[in-house]
Protein backbone atom coordinates (compact mmCIF):
# COMPACT_ATOMS: atom_id res chain seq x y z
CA UNK A 1 0.00 0.00 0.00
CA UNK A 2 1.48 3.40 -0.94
CA UNK A 3 2.41 5.83 1.82
CA UNK A 4 0.82 9.11 0.81
CA UNK A 5 -0.64 10.39 4.10
CA UNK A 6 0.81 13.86 3.45
CA UNK A 7 -1.58 14.46 0.54
CA UNK A 8 -4.55 13.23 2.55
CA UNK A 9 -3.71 15.51 5.50
CA UNK A 10 -3.09 18.45 3.15
CA UNK A 11 -6.47 17.99 1.44
CA UNK A 12 -8.36 17.84 4.77
CA UNK A 13 -6.48 20.88 6.03
CA UNK A 14 -7.15 22.91 2.86
CA UNK A 15 -10.86 21.97 2.70
CA UNK A 16 -11.51 22.76 6.37
CA UNK A 17 -9.55 26.01 5.94
CA UNK A 18 -11.71 27.10 2.97
CA UNK A 19 -14.95 26.34 4.83
CA UNK A 20 -13.71 28.15 7.94
CA UNK A 21 -12.62 31.25 6.00
CA UNK A 22 -15.98 31.44 4.25
CA UNK A 23 -17.88 31.06 7.52
CA UNK A 24 -15.77 33.83 9.10
CA UNK A 25 -16.33 36.05 6.05
CA UNK A 26 -20.11 35.52 6.26
CA UNK A 27 -20.20 36.43 9.94
CA UNK A 28 -17.96 39.48 9.40
CA UNK A 29 -20.13 40.76 6.53
CA UNK A 30 -23.34 40.28 8.54
CA UNK A 31 -21.78 42.08 11.48
CA UNK A 32 -20.63 44.95 9.28
CA UNK A 33 -24.15 45.37 7.80
CA UNK A 34 -25.70 45.18 11.29
CA UNK A 35 -23.33 47.86 12.60
CA UNK A 36 -24.09 50.15 9.65
CA UNK A 37 -27.83 49.70 10.24
CA UNK A 38 -27.37 50.47 13.94
CA UNK A 39 -25.34 53.60 13.24
CA UNK A 40 -27.91 54.70 10.65
CA UNK A 41 -30.69 54.27 13.24
CA UNK A 42 -28.69 56.27 15.80
CA UNK A 43 -28.12 59.14 13.35
CA UNK A 44 -31.86 59.52 12.74
Amino acid sequence: MPHNEGYYHAAYFVAIGIYMLYTISLRARRRSVALRRLSLGRDR
Partner: protein
Protein backbone atom coordinates in the same frame (compact mmCIF):
# COMPACT_ATOMS: atom_id res chain seq x y z
CA UNK B 1 -46.10 39.36 -7.76
CA UNK B 2 -44.06 40.71 -4.86
CA UNK B 3 -42.22 44.01 -4.94
CA UNK B 4 -38.75 44.26 -3.34
CA UNK B 5 -40.13 46.37 -0.50
CA UNK B 6 -42.90 43.88 0.30
CA UNK B 7 -40.53 40.94 0.32
CA UNK B 8 -38.03 42.62 2.62
CA UNK B 9 -40.69 44.03 4.94
CA UNK B 10 -41.61 40.50 6.01
CA UNK B 11 -38.01 40.06 7.21
CA UNK B 12 -37.92 43.38 9.03
CA UNK B 13 -38.76 41.74 12.33
CA UNK B 14 -35.46 39.84 12.21
CA UNK B 15 -32.96 41.11 14.77
CA UNK B 16 -30.29 43.46 13.48
CA UNK B 17 -27.36 41.40 14.73
CA UNK B 18 -27.41 37.62 15.20
CA UNK B 19 -24.85 37.23 17.94
CA UNK B 20 -25.68 33.59 18.72
CA UNK B 21 -24.72 30.52 16.74
CA UNK B 22 -27.27 29.27 14.24
CA UNK B 23 -28.62 25.83 15.36
CA UNK B 24 -28.52 24.42 11.82
CA UNK B 25 -24.93 25.55 11.44
CA UNK B 26 -24.01 23.93 14.75
CA UNK B 27 -25.74 20.65 13.82
CA UNK B 28 -24.02 20.60 10.41
CA UNK B 29 -20.57 21.25 11.91
CA UNK B 30 -21.10 18.43 14.44
CA UNK B 31 -22.27 16.16 11.61
CA UNK B 32 -19.17 17.01 9.55
CA UNK B 33 -16.92 16.39 12.57
CA UNK B 34 -18.60 12.98 13.05
CA UNK B 35 -18.27 12.14 9.36
CA UNK B 36 -14.58 13.08 9.30
CA UNK B 37 -13.81 11.12 12.47
CA UNK B 38 -15.48 8.09 10.87
CA UNK B 39 -13.59 8.65 7.60
CA UNK B 40 -10.21 9.07 9.32
CA UNK B 41 -10.36 6.48 12.11
CA UNK B 42 -13.09 3.96 11.28
CA UNK B 43 -12.95 3.51 7.51
CA UNK B 44 -10.35 1.17 6.00
CA UNK B 45 -7.65 2.33 3.63
CA UNK B 46 -8.11 1.49 -0.02
CA UNK B 47 -5.51 -1.12 -0.97
CA UNK B 48 -4.21 0.48 -4.20
CA UNK B 49 -4.46 4.20 -3.40
CA UNK B 50 -3.62 4.11 0.31
CA UNK B 51 -4.44 7.06 2.57
CA UNK B 52 -4.92 9.49 -0.34
CA UNK B 53 -8.21 7.76 -1.19
CA UNK B 54 -9.73 9.22 1.98
CA UNK B 55 -9.82 12.59 0.18
CA UNK B 56 -12.84 11.03 -1.57
CA UNK B 57 -15.02 11.66 1.55
CA UNK B 58 -14.45 15.42 1.17
CA UNK B 59 -14.16 15.69 -2.59
CA UNK B 60 -17.34 13.90 -3.73
CA UNK B 61 -19.76 15.46 -1.17
CA UNK B 62 -18.33 18.91 -2.05
CA UNK B 63 -18.90 18.21 -5.76
CA UNK B 64 -22.48 17.03 -5.15
CA UNK B 65 -23.19 20.04 -2.90
CA UNK B 66 -21.82 22.36 -5.62
CA UNK B 67 -24.02 20.78 -8.29
CA UNK B 68 -27.04 21.02 -5.99
CA UNK B 69 -26.18 24.66 -5.24
CA UNK B 70 -25.96 25.63 -8.91
CA UNK B 71 -29.11 23.62 -9.69
CA UNK B 72 -30.91 25.68 -7.06
CA UNK B 73 -29.47 28.87 -8.59
CA UNK B 74 -31.00 27.85 -11.93
CA UNK B 75 -34.40 26.93 -10.44
CA UNK B 76 -34.57 30.10 -8.31
CA UNK B 77 -33.53 32.17 -11.33
CA UNK B 78 -36.24 30.63 -13.52
CA UNK B 79 -38.68 31.36 -10.68
CA UNK B 80 -37.45 34.94 -10.45
CA UNK B 81 -37.79 35.59 -14.19
CA UNK B 82 -41.32 34.23 -14.02
CA UNK B 83 -42.64 35.68 -10.75
CA UNK B 84 -40.27 38.65 -10.21
CA UNK B 85 -40.14 37.71 -6.52
CA UNK B 86 -36.93 39.20 -5.02
CA UNK B 87 -36.76 36.39 -2.45
CA UNK B 88 -35.98 34.02 -5.32
CA UNK B 89 -33.22 36.37 -6.50
CA UNK B 90 -31.75 36.38 -3.01
CA UNK B 91 -31.97 32.57 -2.85
CA UNK B 92 -30.13 32.33 -6.19
CA UNK B 93 -27.47 34.81 -5.06
CA UNK B 94 -26.93 32.92 -1.80
CA UNK B 95 -26.78 29.49 -3.39
CA UNK B 96 -24.36 30.69 -6.09
CA UNK B 97 -21.86 32.04 -3.57
CA UNK B 98 -22.00 28.88 -1.45
CA UNK B 99 -21.71 26.80 -4.63
CA UNK B 100 -18.51 28.64 -5.53
CA UNK B 101 -17.09 27.76 -2.09
CA UNK B 102 -17.88 24.05 -2.58
CA UNK B 103 -16.44 24.14 -6.13
CA UNK B 104 -13.27 25.74 -4.75
CA UNK B 105 -12.96 22.78 -2.36
CA UNK B 106 -13.48 20.37 -5.29
CA UNK B 107 -10.83 22.18 -7.37
CA UNK B 108 -8.27 22.12 -4.55
CA UNK B 109 -8.84 18.66 -3.04
CA UNK B 110 -9.03 17.08 -6.53
CA UNK B 111 -5.49 18.08 -7.59
CA UNK B 112 -4.09 17.13 -4.15
CA UNK B 113 -5.62 13.67 -4.65
CA UNK B 114 -4.50 13.53 -8.30
CA UNK B 115 -0.80 14.08 -7.56
CA UNK B 116 -0.09 10.75 -5.81
CA UNK B 117 -2.51 8.79 -8.04
CA UNK B 118 -2.04 10.30 -11.52
CA UNK B 119 1.44 11.73 -10.94
CA UNK B 120 0.32 15.29 -11.68
CA UNK B 121 -1.73 17.95 -9.91
CA UNK B 122 -3.58 19.04 -13.01
CA UNK B 123 -4.34 17.79 -16.49
CA UNK B 124 -6.61 19.44 -19.08
CA UNK B 125 -8.96 16.51 -18.80
CA UNK B 126 -12.56 17.26 -19.85
CA UNK B 127 -14.07 16.69 -16.36
CA UNK B 128 -11.50 18.94 -14.68
CA UNK B 129 -11.61 21.64 -17.35
CA UNK B 130 -15.41 21.86 -17.38
CA UNK B 131 -15.47 22.05 -13.56
CA UNK B 132 -12.98 24.93 -13.75
CA UNK B 133 -15.24 26.64 -16.33
CA UNK B 134 -18.22 26.15 -14.00
CA UNK B 135 -16.25 27.86 -11.21
CA UNK B 136 -15.36 30.77 -13.55
CA UNK B 137 -18.99 31.19 -14.63
CA UNK B 138 -20.27 31.51 -11.05
CA UNK B 139 -17.35 33.72 -9.99
CA UNK B 140 -18.42 35.86 -12.97
CA UNK B 141 -22.00 35.70 -11.66
CA UNK B 142 -20.86 37.14 -8.30
CA UNK B 143 -18.76 39.84 -10.03
CA UNK B 144 -21.71 40.73 -12.28
CA UNK B 145 -23.99 41.18 -9.28
CA UNK B 146 -21.47 43.51 -7.68
CA UNK B 147 -21.14 45.58 -10.85
CA UNK B 148 -24.82 46.48 -11.38
CA UNK B 149 -26.47 48.98 -9.05
CA UNK B 150 -30.01 48.75 -10.38
CA UNK B 151 -31.70 45.99 -8.38
CA UNK B 152 -34.12 44.75 -11.07
CA UNK B 153 -31.49 44.78 -13.81
CA UNK B 154 -28.99 43.00 -11.54
CA UNK B 155 -31.52 40.30 -10.72
CA UNK B 156 -32.55 39.82 -14.37
CA UNK B 157 -29.03 39.64 -15.85
CA UNK B 158 -27.69 37.38 -13.12
CA UNK B 159 -30.74 35.09 -13.43
CA UNK B 160 -29.93 34.52 -17.11
CA UNK B 161 -26.27 33.78 -16.30
CA UNK B 162 -27.29 31.55 -13.39
CA UNK B 163 -29.50 29.43 -15.66
CA UNK B 164 -26.92 29.19 -18.48
CA UNK B 165 -24.14 28.23 -16.05
CA UNK B 166 -26.14 25.32 -14.66
CA UNK B 167 -26.46 23.85 -18.17
CA UNK B 168 -22.82 22.81 -17.78
CA UNK B 169 -23.64 20.40 -14.91
CA UNK B 170 -25.03 17.51 -17.02
CA UNK B 171 -22.03 17.84 -19.36
CA UNK B 172 -19.65 17.63 -16.39
CA UNK B 173 -21.43 14.50 -15.12
CA UNK B 174 -21.45 12.88 -18.58
CA UNK B 175 -17.95 14.05 -19.60
CA UNK B 176 -16.37 10.82 -18.30
CA UNK B 177 -18.62 8.84 -20.68
CA UNK B 178 -18.42 11.21 -23.66
CA UNK B 179 -14.66 11.78 -23.67
CA UNK B 180 -11.49 9.82 -22.91
CA UNK B 181 -10.59 11.15 -19.47
CA UNK B 182 -8.27 10.29 -16.60
CA UNK B 183 -11.01 11.06 -14.09
CA UNK B 184 -12.70 7.84 -12.94
CA UNK B 185 -16.30 7.12 -13.89
CA UNK B 186 -18.95 7.47 -11.15
CA UNK B 187 -18.90 4.59 -8.69
CA UNK B 188 -21.95 5.72 -6.70
CA UNK B 189 -24.24 7.84 -8.92
CA UNK B 190 -24.76 5.44 -11.82
CA UNK B 191 -27.58 3.21 -13.10
CA UNK B 192 -26.22 0.03 -11.43
CA UNK B 193 -25.57 -0.49 -7.70
CA UNK B 194 -22.69 1.49 -6.11
CA UNK B 195 -19.37 -0.33 -6.46
CA UNK B 196 -17.98 0.56 -3.03
CA UNK B 197 -17.44 -1.72 -0.01
CA UNK B 198 -20.23 -1.24 2.59
CA UNK B 199 -17.96 0.53 5.18
CA UNK B 200 -16.82 3.06 2.59
CA UNK B 201 -20.33 3.58 1.24
CA UNK B 202 -21.70 4.21 4.77
CA UNK B 203 -18.95 6.78 5.42
CA UNK B 204 -19.68 8.45 2.09
CA UNK B 205 -23.43 8.63 2.81
CA UNK B 206 -22.81 10.10 6.30
CA UNK B 207 -20.38 12.62 4.83
CA UNK B 208 -22.85 13.49 2.06
CA UNK B 209 -25.67 14.14 4.56
CA UNK B 210 -23.34 16.23 6.76
CA UNK B 211 -22.21 18.41 3.85
CA UNK B 212 -25.79 18.84 2.62
CA UNK B 213 -26.71 20.16 6.08
CA UNK B 214 -23.67 22.43 5.93
CA UNK B 215 -24.77 23.70 2.51
CA UNK B 216 -28.24 24.50 3.89
CA UNK B 217 -26.75 26.25 6.93
CA UNK B 218 -24.44 28.39 4.79
CA UNK B 219 -27.21 29.30 2.33
CA UNK B 220 -29.47 30.27 5.24
CA UNK B 221 -26.78 32.56 6.66
CA UNK B 222 -26.02 34.04 3.23
CA UNK B 223 -29.73 34.61 2.56
CA UNK B 224 -30.00 36.52 5.83
CA UNK B 225 -27.03 38.65 4.80
CA UNK B 226 -28.73 39.43 1.46
CA UNK B 227 -31.94 40.40 3.27
CA UNK B 228 -30.11 42.61 5.77
CA UNK B 229 -28.18 44.30 2.93
CA UNK B 230 -31.43 45.06 1.14
CA UNK B 231 -32.91 46.52 4.32
CA UNK B 232 -29.80 48.67 4.72
CA UNK B 233 -30.11 49.91 1.13
CA UNK B 234 -33.74 50.85 1.78
CA UNK B 235 -32.87 52.60 5.03
CA UNK B 236 -30.13 54.53 3.24
CA UNK B 237 -32.72 55.53 0.64
CA UNK B 238 -30.96 53.84 -2.26
Amino acid sequence: MTTPTQAVRSDRAAPVAHAGVDWLFLVSVLAIAGALVRAIYFTPFEALQGAAQKIFYLHLPAALAAFLAFGIVALSSIGYLWLKDPRLDRAAESSAEVGVVFTTVVLTTGPIWAKPIWGTYWTWDMRLTLTLFLWFIYVGYIVLRGAIDDRAMRARYSAVLGILGALLIPFIHLSVYLFRTMHPRPIVIKPSAPSLPPEMLTTLVISFVAFMLFYLALVRQRYRLATERELLEQEEGR
